[in-house]
Each structure stands twice: as structure tokens, then as C-alpha cells.
Symmetry: C2
């Protein structure tokens, strides 16, 4: 084999064992109506995210809670059917909100907050959560790694401060790319840096 | 056995298996000369900490780094032979300092910062670290749990977001009480709340 073939093979072997890690900062999802109220128009893409079709918007908001506010918070597109604020427990202390640990989209009985944009404010009656750590996975990778949608696994991370996360939710969809998502508390707790890898362990 | 006996027995059994967890917030250690420069006098105790002889001081400082500052930072006593600032990686981002992950007291080649108190400022030429997660342990508990001073172990934590910390440093001394110390990134990553327990696993 030549070097290019070796590298391609190595990448395939690595992909069958390891899962790339990503740190998700605090961010907001909004509906179309909320985007118009906040910005006067729909979301506009600044750059694509690792998950196909998802993007970081040019638009930003200030989030206000009972004890404080967070400026310049990222908004992710495209618009959704319900607004949602995903933050870390550290962020929650700043706002004075204790977010429940939830899979994205599971917002029943969660606390709300105020979003403020250049064109107006929007009250989210609910939707403030700390995203449960999770792995987005393609069906092919899920089959390869022998896991199924909604399975809860342990994820060993090979980082500066190595640890094994329990209670990691696997989400499988043909719309996904395979990445494990940590929030910034989790990323800092394991000393994550760009390019670090994890592995499902039993 | 009566209830009091049962409870005493349960406590002994628990203590042979489980280690109480504590979250350490950002804090500063100073020398006697630094305390005088910052406050005009030595440190005065506000309340005792879990480690025998250690106390939270009434005195507080502002810490300044190249990108930002942290107000109202706790100072722990008694005074030490060298100043040290222990913070989380999240705190480091605010200051614009990347602290190395180190056992307390291991400050060679670490970055510095400025401390500001009501009576003056002090430049720490070095000593800004993120404390390596660690377990303080009495010799009796270390013998019971079959570990020795400076051993690195895995610590499984029974918390809201359970995980297994690797690279946890055991420190054994007759001057210690047995507690595992996490920083706030680690505490939030595992969903720690007061009273949570951990266990050394292999």
C-alpha cells in the first residue's frame, strides 16, 4: 500500500472504534415567529455545524434570567417548532435558573427565560435545559458499534483529564454525523481539546 | 441493636466503601507577607474547612489576568510558604490564563496573576493552577481502601450525572480528613450536590 492508502485505511479503522468529541457552547433554538420578533427576519447562516443541515446563525441574543444575563448567545438554525435554551449548569448559576438535564426537545415542565434581540424580546415560557450528554450517530456507525437509538452507554474519553462518562444517550438517524456532544462543564472536566476522541465501553 | 447502634454501624460500613465528595471553588493561598500587603494584617478565620486546621478567611481578593478579572475570590488559611491561585478551566477563560492541571503546591513554570486587596496589590509571578482532582485520605482509610500516598485511582461518583473520573490523585496524611475534591467544572459535569458519595474502582 502507498501512503494515501495507508492513511485511508487508518481512518476507516479509527472510525470503527473511536468517536470524535465536540464541545457545545450555550445556544438557543427559536421558532420562525420568534426569529422575526427578535431580529425582524428569519435566521441567516454564518457557518455550518457538524450535524448536516444545522448552522450557526449570524444572529445573536441576550438571555435574561432572575439573577443575571448572558450576552451574545449563539442561535442555531434552522428554526424549530419550539424555542429552547441549552446551557451548562455553570451558565444556569449566572442566570439564576437550575436547568434540568434533558435530551434536546424534551422541555416539559422546564423553566423559561427572556430572549432579547435587536428588534424585540421574546419570553420562552419553558425550554431551558442542560443537554444530556449524547452521541449523534449514523445508522452505519450504530450497527458497527453495536448500539441502537436511545440506548444509554458509557463513553471513555481520551483527553487531558481522562474519564468515563456514564448516562450518555445514543441518538441514531440518517440525518446525523457521528459526534459525541459535551457541554462546556463536561469538556473542561475532561480537559477536552479539538480533535480528541472517545470510545463506547461496557 | 437499637436504632442508634444501627445508624452507627451503617456509618462505619459506608465509610469503608464510600468517600464523601466536595466541590472546591476557586481560591487563593497567600504568604504572611502577601496577606499583610493585601489586607494590612494576617488572615482571620471565618469558618473551618473539612481539612483539619484549614479555614476560609474573612478576607477576599480580586484576581486579575490579561483578559479579565474575578471579584470576591475566597482566600484560604493558614498562610503558606508560596502564593497560589487554584481555579477551574472555566475561570481561566475569564482571566485569559490557561492553568496547568497540577497537584496543589506543584507550581513550577505555571503562569502568574495579580491579586488585589483593600490595602494593596500583589503580583504572583507563578502559582496559577487547576488543581488535579484528588482524594485527601487518613492513613486508616487508605489502609482500609488499599491505596497509598500519590497513587492515581479511578473514582466512580454516584451523582445526578454519574461518571468515573480517571487520574484521581490520592494524598494520605494523618493531617487529612477523607474527602474527594472536585473543581466546579468537574462538580457540574457530574451533577454533584452536597452529600454525594464516590467510590474507588479498579
Amino acid at each position: 500500500m502507498n501512503n494515501a492508502d495507508m492513511e485511508a485505511l487508518a481512518r476507516v479503522v479509527m472510525g470503527r472504534i473511536f468517536i470524535p468529541l465536540e464541545a457545545s457552547g450555550r445556544h438557543v433554538h427559536v421558532t420562525e415567529a420568534q426569529a422575526r420578533a427578535l431580529f425582524g427576519h428569519g435566521l441567516t447562516p454564518k457557518r455550518p455545524l457538524s450535524q448536516p443541515g444545522q448552522f450557526l446563525a449570524n444572529e445573536r441574543v441576550t438571555v435574561m434570567g432572575p439573577k443575571g444575563k448572558l450576552d451574545n448567545v449563539a442561535v442555531l438554525g434552522p428554526e424549530r417548532k419550539e424555542g429552547q435554551l441549552e446551557l451548562s449548569l455553570t451558565d444556569g448559576r449566572i442566570l439564576g435558573i437550575t436547568p434540568p438535564i434533558r435530551p434536546s426537545g424534551n422541555v416539559a415542565d422546564s423553566p423559561g427565560c427572556i430572549l432579547s434581540g435587536p428588534q424585540g424580546q421574546v419570553a420562552l415560557p419553558r425550554g431551558v435545559i442542560a443537554a444530556q450528554r449524547h452521541i449523534h450517530m449514523t445508522p452505519a456507525d450504530a450497527a458497527q458499534m453495536n448500539v441502537t437509538d436511545k440506548q444509554v452507554v458509557k463513553l471513555q474519553v481520551y483527553t487531558a483529564r481522562p474519564l468515563i462518562f456514564e448516562d450518555v444517550l445514543v441518538r441514531v438517524s440518517p440525518d446525523f454525523a457521528t459526534f459525541a456532544h459535551l457541554d462546556y462543564d463536561e469538556a473542561n472536566a475532561c480537559g477536552f481539546t479539538q480533535g480528541d476522541l472517545g470510545r463506547i465501553v461496557t
